[in-house]
Symmetry: C2
Subunit: 186 residues, 2 copies
DNA sequence: AATCCTATCTTGCCATTGACAAGATGCCGC
DNA sequence: GCGGCATCTTGTCAATGGCAAGATAGGATT
């Protein structure tokens, strides 16, 4: 939203990030071209460098944005583990570009301060979603349980995005994810 | 093994694939440079093109090799689901370069004939490992169970490779994977 | 109002890369 | 010995990332 019409002097930074999301959905994060972004935004080929330094800088900004969005998404999904898992998969599918960058740290500056805090925020949201696991009998190892939940949601999302899943899984990721995630929670 | 010393006229193809594995472990599959591979192999910058056509061709060969290796690995892991899961994660860690390419189909020709058969072979090995799920009571949906098992193993492997796991998980992927995968099988 | 100042953006440049074309080299069968 | 073919080299071009130097403009200071 707020598609402000001013690049030439205005919010170029925002426009470039938006263009990057489009481009990544089309060709993937690796094939991203700064010059292509500049063309999409209608500015010169060196304009992006001023806002992000280099390509890694731009992807760092994108990853930070992504972790913030994920934290927000998980928080509003509530405390139910199954719902949180579905929200995680849904996030990956709906914000594919963000998600693909976030988990490819070799493409950005993983030590960047803002990024680190955003990632920790997302991590906290993730753990709080798992804290409500049904403690059915056996001694619980929350860390391992959290990791298992994260793994199954992340794995399903990744396989979905990679197009690795058989056609039979169908076109509704939320439904399919729910059926899969249920295997863990029961 | 069989580090034959003949490139200039010899098994350049094999040497290039080996060099590619090294390079990918160093800089990731996206930053792979054909010219760098040529330098590593001691040949001219255009030599790789003859064997693989282009970069996608080389990565297709690598992915095919990877799926074959995975099929072989899963087959020799036996019929136990937990063992198969651990073998899957172990494969990802030990053959990181192969694994990273295999699940990034935008980098290679996913429709290539040899690749398709290799991938199907790996898929079959995967499913046969899941077929021995403990049918404890409830009506079993094998497809969904298989998908859940694949998801949790794949997710753990992916998170491990991305360096996303907390330090506490430790340096032994097999052990950590086993503890996580157990959450699903019990 | 004139001036400086700084953020923003442009132009120009260079090394690297992927891909292609054309030519050289050497092996193998006849 | 000779032709043919696979293999490899040299040369070239467009695209890209990144750097340097310069242009432009809006705001603050005086």
């Amino acid at each position: 939203m707020t598609e402000t019409r001013a690049y030439h002097h205005g919010d170029l930074r925002r426009a470039l990030l938006a263009a990057a999301l489009d481009a990544i959905e089309e060709v993937g994060p690796a094939a991203l071209s700064l010059r292509d972004l500049a063309r999409r935004a209608g500015v010169s080929h060196a304009a992006p460098a001023h806002h992000f330094g280099d390509k890694a800088g731009l992807l760092t900004a994108l990853a930070t944005q992504g972790f913030d969005l994920l934290a927000q998404t998980l928080a509003s999904a509530g405390d139910d583990l199954l719902a949180a898992g579905v929200a995680y998969v849904d996030f990956a599918v709906r914000h594919r570009a963000h998600f693909e960058v976030m988990f490819r740290p070799e493409l950005y500056r993983a030590g960047d301060a803002e990024l680190v805090t955003a990632r920790e925020r997302a991590g906290a949201a993730l753990r709080s979603g798992v804290a409500t696991l049904p403690t059915s009998g056996a001694p619980v190892d929350t860390d391992r349980d959290a990791l298992a939940a994260w793994s199954i949601a992340h794995g399903f999302a990744t396989l979905w995005l990679a197009g690795a899943l058989p056609n039979r899984v169908g076109g509704n990721p939320r439904k399919a994810a729910q059926e899969v995630l249920r295997r863990l929670t029961r």
